[in-house]
């Protein structure tokens, strides 16, 4: 019998001897670990929104006013300067 098979058999014997509520608690912990992993990934996604918000804020504050004034020469100048300043 290989080491892996011995280990699997011992684990299964140990599990059979454990009372039901303990097995459930262990399973719950595994699932909690998975949930934490997913939550961490989601938190990181949310953190990344900070840069998106900053970029949109930057575009709006730098470009919206000249666009609203409908002054084409000014729009051209502001767009060109904005791109050079990135």
């Amino acid at each position: 019998m290989s080491t892996h098979e011995i280990r699997t058999r011992l684990r299964s014997q140990a599990r059979d001897r454990l009372p039901g509520p303990v097995v459930e608690r262990i399973r719950g912990r595994v699932s909690l670990r998975d949930r934490v992993r997913v939550l961490e990934a989601e938190v990181q996604e949310n953190r990344q929104l900070n840069r998106r918000i900053a970029e949109l804020t930057d575009v709006v504050t730098e470009l919206l006013i000249p666009l609203d004034a409908r002054d084409q020469d000014r729009v051209d100048e502001v767009l060109s300067r904005y791109q050079q300043g990135l």
Partner: protein, 530 residues
């Protein structure tokens, strides 16, 4: 035991103290055996850092000492690699280089002439003044220059640049990033050439009279709740009152603003033993702090350095200089509209389009690539308008899209898709929609693809060069185009070539258009072949 220097590295006694390595009297690297090495019979083998390996062919006197220079572990001539010439770690101008604390090759202060040292300090002082007077932030000297000034009254011999920091009043990362954008705009307007490294730090490029360019880092520092964050990657506990109001320190005859309590700042940066010199020091940053900073501020230039390394390295010569077969396939379809090569790389196709008489633009996120394209265009008497596009930085995408909306182009991208992450790919579709809807141009794509009839072509499988390009699923590309309002007019999956023109069994070509919203959608079916 004896210390042995070989091609594998340095075998020396186990120790948790740092040691310095010199070649022919020039400092090149410092190491701490227990931290950097692996146990071998006879001691600890510390491998040579990857950045030094290209220089380790030839003969030279290698001296290994403790930081005081009193304990000498090795001092003898050694031959490494197959070379017979002298060992020298130098840049293209012959300036001596050493490995800095983040593992990059840099020119240390000790190997910099006095006049150039003064240029660095004067430039740093000018940067501080410009930041205060024109960008509205009060910055202080920090990191190695602060450590040198407080501990030794001079620049550290093994340091290579100067670092400035400013303490932001903001506590929301979005506001901190927006402030950093304003700072870079103000500094550019004053004529500073700069690189953005993240949402919270920029590098000012200071040209020196010896041909080198000194990097002056401008890092943000800020508090979120009770946690103090200081870019690079530091986080922990340091109250505002330890930083402001500033104190003043003197360095080689120049006065600089410094944190109010420099000792507290140095203990925060370098730990409680900051008074003991350790050139091999490495930061041990709290992982949760690094994770936060990565999420808030980074992600748009993860592979930029690797691409710059490729475009400046020897393998770039393996990319053919002639037009790719894809460019020859696209060219008859261009008509009168100009073409913009996205992710131009070496510029081989952009230059060829220009030679065929098409008005041609070329964009890339790598400044090294753009410099190369400009040089080649000038050399060949061609007009190619080259500029930076960072897909993944929304401002960059939006401003180019706005310009293209009024100056219609075709968009061309060969082997770009396989370099992009999901966020950058979304911005490519946004750019295509902005650029192509008003003007009626097409998007031409070629990429190494997923093909269920070809083994080992799963999505994300790394291909040349060195995994910088990954296979992409044509179905996912099509879905992305259609989700953003585009129509795939033609799609083929067939044997083709990678970026070196080596054969590849699964290469996808796509031609897509973005009809204007007011026009009825094309009912023509996609031409699909394999």
């Amino acid at each position: 035991m004896t210390t042995v220097v070989s091609d594998d590295g340095i075998l020396l006694p186990a120790a948790s103290r740092p040691f310095l390595v010199e070649i022919d009297g020039h400092y090149v690297w410092s190491l701490t055996p227990d931290r950097d090495g692996v146990r071998r019979s006879g001691g600890v083998l510390v491998p040579w850092p990857g950045v030094l390996r290209p220089f380790l062919s030839g003969r030279g006197r290698i001296r290994i000492t403790d930081t005081t220079g009193e304990e000498v572990l090795h001092d003898a001539e050694v031959g490494l690699g197959a070379g017979e010439g002298p060992l020298a770690v130098v840049d293209a101008q012959g300036n001596r280089l050493s490995v800095d604390k983040v593992g990059h090759l840099a020119r240390s202060f000790a190997d910099t002439g006095e006049a150039v040292q003064q240029e660095i300090l004067v430039g740093t002082r000018r940067a501080l003044d410009d930041l205060r007077e024109h960008a509205g932030v009060n910055a202080y000297l920090n990191y190695g220059a602060l450590l040198g000034a407080i501990r030794e009254g001079r620049m550290l011999a093994h340091d290579s640049d100067t670092d400035l920091c400013y303490l932001s009043d903001h506590t929301s990362p979005a506001d901190i990033i927006a402030e950093s954008y304003r700072i870079s705009r103000a500094m550019r307007a004053l004529g500073w050439n700069l690189l953005r490294m993240s949402g919270g730090d920029i590098k000012l490029l200071l040209p020196l009279s010896d041909g080198r360019i000194c990097h002056i880092d401008v890092f943000v520092a800020f508090h979120v709740g009770d946690t103090f964050f200081q870019l690079g990657n530091r986080s922990g506990s340091l109250p505002r009152s330890s930083i402001e109001p500033f104190s003043t320190i003197e360095l080689h005859g120049h006065e600089f603003p410094a944190p109010r309590d420099p000792e507290a700042m140095l203990a925060f940066l370098y730990g409680p033993h900051w008074r003991t010199p350790d050139p091999s020091f490495r930061y041990e940053d709290p992982p949760d702090g690094v994770r936060r900073l990565d999420g808030w501020l980074r992600g748009f230039r993860s592979e930029m350095g690797l691409w710059t390394g490729f475009l400046n390295g020897p393998r770039v010569t393996d990319v053919p200089r002639t037009a790719s077969p894809f460019a020859r396939w696209v060219e008859p379809q261009l008509g009168d509209l100009p073409v913009l090569d996205l992710g131009t790389g070496t510029g081989r196709d952009a230059l060829w389009f220009a030679r065929q008489g098409h008005r041609t633009g070329a964009v890339d996120f790598s400044r090294a690539g753009l410099g190369r394209v400009r040089r080649l265009a000038r050399h060949r008497g061609l007009e190619v308008e080259a500029g930076q596009l960072i897909l993944g930085e929304l401002r960059s995408t939006l401003s180019l899209g706005t310009r293209l909306a009024r100056d219609p182009h075709h968009l061309y991208a060969r082997h770009l898709l396989g370099c992009l992450d999901d966020a950058a790919l979304d911005q490519l579709w946004l750019l295509a929609r902005m650029a192509l809807r008003p003007g009626g141009g097409s998007l031409f794509l070629e990429f190494q693809a997923v093909d269920d009839q070809v083994p080992d072509t799963a999505a994300g499988t790394a291909v040349e060069p060195d995994g910088l390009v990954r296979r992409v699923d044509p179905a996912a590309v099509r879905a992305g185009i259609e989700r953003s309002g585009g129509i795939v007019e033609r799609i083929t999956l067939a044997p083709g070539q990678d970026m070196f023109d080596h054969p590849d069994l699964a290469v996808c070509r796509i031609r897509a258009v973005w009809p204007a919203p007011t026009a009825p959608a094309s009912a023509a079916p996609t031409e699909e072949t394999r």
